[in-house]
């Protein structure tokens, strides 16, 4: 159970506060409700590039990192399709430094052309390091546009291509900032040995005078139902053939979400999971196999991915994978298996809730989902999934006509 207080400043900035007296560290998480899905199709990768620029200095503070390190703090950030998340931890007596730093970059950025130039290069190197110069690194750059034809989930957070990043201008940066980086579009969560009254005072002092921005009207196209199987085959210089299967599923707050997540665990999480046991350990057709859900806020994907065993033809492996998936759908899930995947989820949550940082992140995230209280209902929602519901979601999601198959082959030339 994660207890919390919440309050909202006049400018619309929401605060969540969680007390944990067991630690000298305080975590602060700021979530901005903007992600890659808000980008223009011709200017992708921008939300993430912008995240880098948030460290390039704000109106009154030339460098973000330096004062935080002086305060013994540490920070980082990430961007995904749905949101951009900044987080830090700091010794509790130095928490005000965090308020000073975060409020200044919400107030106004420095917008230096030099910072833009450098971070464009840094992000292009990141693109190369993690996607282009990496075996299988472009798999998701291929899989997402295969699965999504309308919805902006069709591009990755890093962007469609490096050219989009190269072309970003200072004008784009300023527009993006004034549209999205406003108190009414952000959520602050703080966890540690703190008092809500003190946090209120700090919040008022540092964030209270920041002006709210215009309401954001989102017109994100929804993805039409897929009616025909899609398949893409590519050849690359990799060491083994690989298969990616993706089916459209539901969004993060949909009543079926937990059931679909458990389906992915039953299929491919842990060495006793159905696919791993059958195809890796028993038949040895795959060297690796796993299944997971993307967990996006709008309808996301259920994904199975595996590396084919050296010497096995990929068609034989895919065939066996399809058969095993069909058997899974036909046979009712045993009580023991269902309890197993639920137990794994529960242990994962218990370990996750040890750190104040992960609690602060979760508080901001569930608030963004629309209901902070969900944070404490999550376990029960998993517990209450029935075998019947597992069968029903497996039937509706794992379907040929709803499938996207990426066959990623090694190029022997």
């Amino acid at each position: 159970m994660i207890q919390y207080d919440s309050f909202t400043l006049d400018n619309g900035l929401r605060f969540l506060v969680h007390h944990d007296r067991s630690t000298p560290i305080v975590a602060m998480n700021i979530l901005y409700q903007v992600g890659a899905k808000d980008e223009h199709p011709d200017k992708t990768g921008f939300a993430h590039l912008f995240e880098h620029l948030m460290f390039g200095g704000s109106v009154n503070i030339p460098r973000y990192d330096e004062p935080l390190q002086q305060a013994g703090g540490e920070n980082n950030a990430f961007t995904n399709s749905d949101y951009t998340n900044y987080y830090l931890t700091v010794p509790k007596q130095n928490l005000e430094t965090a308020f000073w730093l975060e409020s200044d970059r919400m107030l106004d950025l420095a917008f230096s052309p030099k910072s833009l130039e450098t971070q464009r290069n840094v992000v292009i190197e990141e693109f190369r390091q993690n996607y282009l110069n990496q075996p299988y690194g472009d798999a998701w750059l291929l899989l997402k546009p295969l699965a999504y034809k309308q919805h902006p989930y069709q591009w990755n957070t890093i962007g469609k291509e490096t050219a989009h990043i190269e072309n970003a201008t200072l004008e784009d940066v300023k527009d993006f900032y004034s549209k999205y980086y406003n108190p009414n579009n952000a959520i602050v969560a703080i966890a540690g040995d703190v008092q809500t009254g003190d946090i209120k005072k700090l919040a008022e002092k540092w964030f209270g005078s920041i002006k709210s921005g215009p309401d954001i009207l989102r017109t994100i196209p929804s993805e039409p139902e897929q009616t025909e199987a899609r398949k893409l085959e590519v050849k690359r210089k990799v060491s083994a053939d690989s298969i990616y299967l993706a089916w459209h599923s539901c969004g993060r707050t949909h009543p079926d979400y937990e059931a679909v997540d458990l389906v992915s665990d039953l299929l491919g999480s842990g060495q006793s999971s159905v696919l791993f046991k059958e195809l890796v350990l028993k038949k040895a057709l795959f060297a690796e196999l796993s299944a997971f859900v993307t967990g996006d806020i709008d309808p996301g994907l259920l994904v199975v991915t595996g590396k084919v065993t050296d010497g096995i033809h990929h068609a034989q492996a895919l065939d066996a994978l399809t058969k095993t998936l069909n058997q899974f759908k036909e046979r009712p899930v045993s009580e023991q298996s269902l309890r197993k995947v639920k137990n794994r989820v529960i242990t994962g949550q218990v370990f996750g809730d040890i750190s104040v940082l992960s609690k602060a992140m979760k508080l901001a995230y569930y608030t963004y989902l629309g209901d902070t209280a969900l944070i404490n209902e999550q376990t029960n929602r998993y517990r209450s999934v029935s075998a019947g519901q597992i069968k029903q979601v497996a039937d509706s999601v794992i379907n040929e006509s709803n499938s996207n198959t990426l066959i990623y082959l090694k190029d022997n030339d």
């Binding site: 630690t23 000298p24 560290i25 503070i61 990192d65 330096e66 390190q69 002086q70 305060a71 013994g72 703090g73 540490e74 931890t89 700091v90 010794p91 007596q93 130095n94 005000e96 430094t97 308020f99 000073w100 107030l107 130039e117 450098t118 290069n121 840094v122 292009i124 190197e125 390091q129 282009l132 110069n133 075996p135 003190d198 005072k201 700090l202 002092k205 540092w206 005078s209 210089k237 990799v238 060491s239 060495q271 006793s272 046991k277 350990l281 060297a287 690796e288 065993t309 050296d310 023991q336 309890r339 197993k340 639920k342 137990n343 794994r344 529960i346 242990t347 218990v350 370990f351 040890i354």
Partner: protein, 431 residues
């Protein structure tokens, strides 16, 4: 004491970095067969973590891959339980079993809820005493590992790391040995059984428990591991480091980035210079605001990241700078790294930077020693020393006491770029 006045945004709020870190010296229980048990109890928690530490790293192996494969296969079946049963039971209890090996150690770590531990201990006990290493399971496991090795061989970073390690310690030395593809074919189950028999003696195991530890928990550990007899005397190894500074280039056609590794062997953890060198390393490349990051990423944009690190082991330590940079800027990046090393040798660190780095390190220690799980993690490292958490208090005192003159002296002695090994893997030759 928060003032309600309009804040002055031009001045940083005051900071206080005098942290009181409450170090926990664990209770130690020696089981009757010699197994050492260390306790980090926190009964407000449900999460239980059990670490078992073995003298079973690759430094102890007579054949390459024996150490990592032996520990990796502990969950592949015992006389009592098949691999399927082990996996099902571990997963059913919502537990996670992590099996790792380093150059010095083998590690078995079990994460579970406190209430599940008694049900899981018999499985662990069997893995440590009755593992069978079946031929069929071995063939599948070994082939999977080989495929993973082949995958990593496609990455410039891994190729650089192999070449670097072999040349940092000497390819014929225990720390410098590097596996290649042929080693997978040469490995047999009898190699594993030999290694297992020698190095997984429960009686020489160190067990660290963190989380909800009660008398009952201790009793369960004693009855699971306390009666297993010691059959062999402890073994040791010798590391004969053979190091020569040089530049090595390996061509990786078509690579968009070059992987760079640069460094040299340095002092052991017990050496008087060690703590000071940690500060020097932090300044150079040990945190986000480091000189290497500030220059090569934040100013030049040559890379997504560049870091330096100290890797202390039992018999040798390595100092390493590592990065991946755009192919076209490889030479320029190497020149900048050299420049940063020379700057530390030639000019004393300014007070403000040293103050910042000390504050940062104090915060890092506070963070990394926060709660029983983190302290247990840190305690594991001290097992090769005197097994006392007091090590971290001494370390922090030394860090806080060091001055710019001493750091400059350390840089002169340890950071001369001409005394370093440089490995570059990429598309474009550098000389």
């Amino acid at each position: 004491m928060i003032s309600n006045k309009t804040p002055n945004r031009l001045i940083a709020p005051d900071v206080d970095n005098q942290h009181k870190i409450a170090l926990i010296e664990p209770e130690k229980i020696v089981l009757k067969n010699g197994t050492q048990l260390f306790l980090f109890p926190d009964n407000s928690r449900e999460a239980m973590r059990m670490d078992m530490v073995f003298d079973a790293g690759s430094a102890f192996q007579d054949k390459k891959l024996a150490a990592s494969t032996t520990i990796g296969m502990l969950r592949e079946g015992t006389t009592k339980f098949t691999a399927g049963t082990l996996n099902m039971r571990i997963d059913y209890h919502g537990a996670y079993l992590d099996l790792q090996s380093t150059k010095d150690h083998g590690y078995l770590t079990l994460y579970c809820l406190g209430k599940s531990l008694p049900a899981l201990l018999p499985l662990v006990q069997d893995m440590l005493t009755q593992a069978v290493f079946k031929e069929r399971n071995f063939n599948i496991y070994n082939r999977r590992q080989k495929q993973e090795f082949q995958l990593s061989s496609q990455k410039a970073k891994h190729l650089a790391n192999r070449l670097y390690t072999a040349n940092l310690y000497g390819a014929e030395s225990v720390y410098g040995q590097i596996a290649d593809e042929a080693d997978f074919a040469a490995l047999t189950t009898s190699d594993l059984k030999t290694f297992y028999g020698k190095h997984f003696q429960p009686a020489r195991t160190k067990i660290i428990l963190s989380g909800p530890v009660t008398q009952k928990t201790i009793h369960h550990i004693i009855s699971s591991f306390g009666d297993i007899e010691n059959t062999l005397s402890p073994t040791d190894f010798v590391q004969d480091t053979l190091f020569q500074p040089k530049l090595l280039f390996k061509k990786k056609p078509g690579a968009l980035q070059s992987a760079i590794m640069m460094g040299k062997p340095v002092m052991l953890r017990t050496h008087k210079d060690y703590f000071g060198f940690l500060v020097l390393n932090t300044i150079l490349g040990g945190y986000f605001g480091s000189r290497l990051m500030t220059n090569i990423r934040e100013d030049k944009g040559y890379t997504y990241g560049i870091h330096s690190m100290v890797s202390p082991m039992r018999k040798a330590s390595g100092f390493t700078i590592a990065t991946e940079v755009g192919t076209d800027v490889t030479k320029a990046a190497l020149a900048e790294i050299r420049l940063e090393l020379l700057r530390l040798i030639e000019n004393p660190v300014k007070d403000e930077e040293l103050w910042l780095v000390k504050n940062y390190l104090n915060g890092t220690y506070l963070r990394s020693l926060d709660g029983v799980y983190s302290q247990a993690d840190k305690f594991r490292i001290t097992l090769d020393l005197d097994g006392r958490m007091d090590y971290y208090a001494r370390s922090l005192d030394a860090i806080n006491a060091i001055g710019a003159t001493e750091l400059k002296d350390l840089a002169e002695r340890y950071l001369n770029p001409d005394e370093m090994l440089t490995v570059v893997v990429g598309d474009k030759e550098v000389e």
